[in-house]
């Protein structure tokens, strides 16, 4: 066994054979391919079922915990901090404040988008501070978006709503009436 400080530099060598994209696409190396086709259906659960059904009515709903005093949004049936059942359901507003945002030039598979998407975390009015959701912004130029911007949900027409987060088409800039 080696004893004492070895005068070595680590890692001493780098093993592995690098391939290029074309090595794969032109099958210059031995490849085995498979296309798994898995289909899932998720039950929405107690809290999310109520939330999604309220979206059909054009309303956002939250839950409250009387122990910590939080209005919890998106709703869950338990308060994860007090670790107890929630004490009731409350409607929150469909207006809010942009907490942070991004202008995305890529789709879910990292392919480029022609027209960028503006995505934001929106803290919803009526819920506790920092209680927000991620959603898309519309009716606004990318360079006009700022943190702290007031926004309001733009809903799909009632007959097109299906109980999904996309029942809100996007959030648009909004000026408070008492401003």
């Amino acid at each position: 066994m080696a004893v004492g400080r070895k005068k070595i530099s680590c890692p001493p060598y780098a093993e592995g054979t690098a391939l290029s994209e074309r090595d794969i696409s032109e099958r210059r190396v031995t490849i085995f391919e498979d296309h798994p086709n898995l289909v899932y259906s998720w039950t929405a659960g107690q809290a999310m079922s109520r939330f999604l059904n309220e979206l059909k009515n054009g309303k956002l709903i939250a839950t409250k915990c009387e122990k910590c005093g939080r209005i919890i949004f998106p709703p869950r049936i338990y308060c994860e901090l007090c670790y107890k059942p929630i004490d009731g359901w409350v409607y929150v507003k469909d207006t809010g404040t942009v907490q942070t945002f991004s202008i995305s030039y890529i789709d879910p598979d990292a392919r480029p988008l022609e027209k960028p998407v503006i995505v934001a975390v929106i803290a919803v009015d009526g819920a506790s501070p920092n209680m927000g959701i991620m959603h898309i912004l519309g009716e606004v130029e990318p360079e006009k978006v700022y943190i702290g911007m007031r926004v309001k949900a733009v809903w799909k027409p009632e007959n097109e709503r299906e109980g999904a987060i996309t029942d809100i088409k996007y959030w648009k800039p909004w000026r408070d009436e008492n401003d």
Binding site: M1, A2, V3, G4, R5, K6, I8, S9, C10, P11, P12, Y13, A14, E15, G16, T17, A18, L19, S20, D23, I24, V29, D34, P36, Y40, W42, A44, M48, L52, F73, P74, E80, Q99, T100, F101, S102, I103, S104, Y105, I106, D107, P108, D109, A110, R111, P116, V119, A120, V121, N130, M131, G132, I133, M134, H135, I136, I147, A164, I165, T166
Partner: protein, 400 residues
């Protein structure tokens, strides 16, 4: 039942834990070798450094991130034989990107508890199997009801976090880009590096926009690779080397997947994990007591974000330390001297090779051209992952 709980961590470990060897493969966008073969390469190198044989290994810990990359369910079991886990206690751990430091933490449990005197930790990732891009697998970490219908890309959450961090602390993109410049240049001295290059701040700011403020050169690349680490009890370490590196503290913390319910400017879960590790390692002033750091840097702003979470800088101070050269390899607090994920590559769990393995090599004075200029006693490495909710921290020292 109401019981009185005495607050505070109590550590009743059976024995100290030393690291005596490490290894890693090259990190590349695509590698010919399978995950088993890559694991074998990394383990072989670690055994060579330690002067041990696979027969000496009592237990094996495997760290590997989502099965969706490899397209192999039961990935831990699949990789087992390549990782030297045949016919011995074997365990896979997984906390997304945090796995690169969580796996050695699990290795620490094995030895500190006395269950094993010699434990091998292996981390593997092969992201190139997933087509057209590994990003397609990342789709499935989003909440199926709230997030996925919006067609998100994983980069979104980083862009949102980076914007919030810049906004609250009033930081310019130029100062963040310096991290990418530093780490990619540091990686020029790493034999395993994938994207080592000399670039400028302008190159970063003018690179292709992905999800603004994130641009191409703000991001580490997807990679294939593997890494290994050997942890042993003191009586084994004494026989192998005069100068082992000791694990003096470990910590981990997770927040919920409700990431839109927290202020993203500060990683509280990393601070919690660091608090636990520092308490164990008797570190009260991390900025003064830590000589070298490897915080997780999948994005350039993350290195700064995590330095603040680790208490190596005050909130908003990390970009200033970077600009002043404090975090350079010859600085007062070298950060990511390996080249990090930004320079060497980002094979999720296998980033152990540039985090835990690098701190071990730095403290053993075996980092070659990457060895930091100052004298080092104590180092910290950290990883982070999932939906911005995981912090894993390990403190090491070459003094027991």
């Amino acid at each position: 039942m109401e019981v009185e709980i005495v607050k505070g961590l109590k550590f009743h470990k059976k024995q100290d834990v030393a690291i005596v060897g490490a290894g890693m493969t090259t990190f590349k966008r695509r590698l010919l070798e399978t995950g088993k073969e890559l694991s074998y390469f990394a383990v072989k190198q670690a055994l060579e450094e330690a002067g041990l044989d696979i027969k000496d290994i009592e237990m094996v810990v495997m760290g590997s991130a989502p099965d969706a990359f490899d397209g192999t369910a039961l990935k831990g079991e699949y990789l087992l034989d390549g990782a030297g886990g045949s016919d011995r206690p074997y365990l896979r751990v997984f906390v997304g990107g945090g796995t690169g430091v969580f796996a050695p933490i699990a290795g620490y449990w094995h030895v500190a508890s006395g269950l094993a005197d010699v434990c091998l930790v292996v981390c593997e990732e092969k992201m190139s199997c997933c087509h057209p891009h590994p990003q397609s697998a990342f789709k499935y970490i989003w909440d199926p009801i709230l997030d996925r219908p919006l067609k998100p890309n994983l980069i979104w959450i980083f862009a949102l976090e980076m914007r919030r961090y810049m906004h609250v602390n009033n930081i310019r993109h130029e100062d963040i880009a310096l991290v990418s410049v530093k780490n990619k240049a540091n990686a020029l001295d790493h034999p395993c590096a994938q994207v080592a290059e000399k670039i400028t701040v302008e190159d970063v700011l003018n690179s292709e926009p992905m999800a603004l403020p994130v641009r191409r050169l703000d991001v580490s690349p997807p990679s294939d690779g593997a890494a290994a680490l050997i942890m042993v009890a003191p009586h084994i370490a004494r026989q192998l080397t005069d100068e082992p590196v000791w694990v003096t503290g470990v910590g981990w913390a997770l927040d919920t997947t409700h990431w839109t319910n927290r202020d993203l400017y500060f990683p509280r879960y990393v601070a919690e994990a660091a608090k636990m590790a520092y308490r164990m390692a008797h570190i009260t002033d991390p900025r003064k007591q830590i000589d070298v750091a490897e915080p997780y840097d999948p994005f350039d702003y993350k290195e700064l974000h995590h330095m603040e979470g680790l208490g190596l800088a005050k909130k908003g101070e990390a970009p200033i330390l970077t600009r002043e050269g404090v975090t350079a390899r010859d600085g007062d607090l070298p950060v990511c001297p390996s080249g990090g994920l930004l320079g060497v590559g980002n094979p999720i769990a296998a980033t152990m090779g540039v985090k835990a393995c690098e701190i071990y090599w730095q403290l053993a004075y075996r980092a070659g051209k990457r060895q930091v200029a100052k004298e080092v006693t104590t180092g910290v490495c950290q990883a982070w992952g999932d939906l911005m909710q995981v912090g894993t921290v390990m403190v090491m020292s070459n003094k027991r």
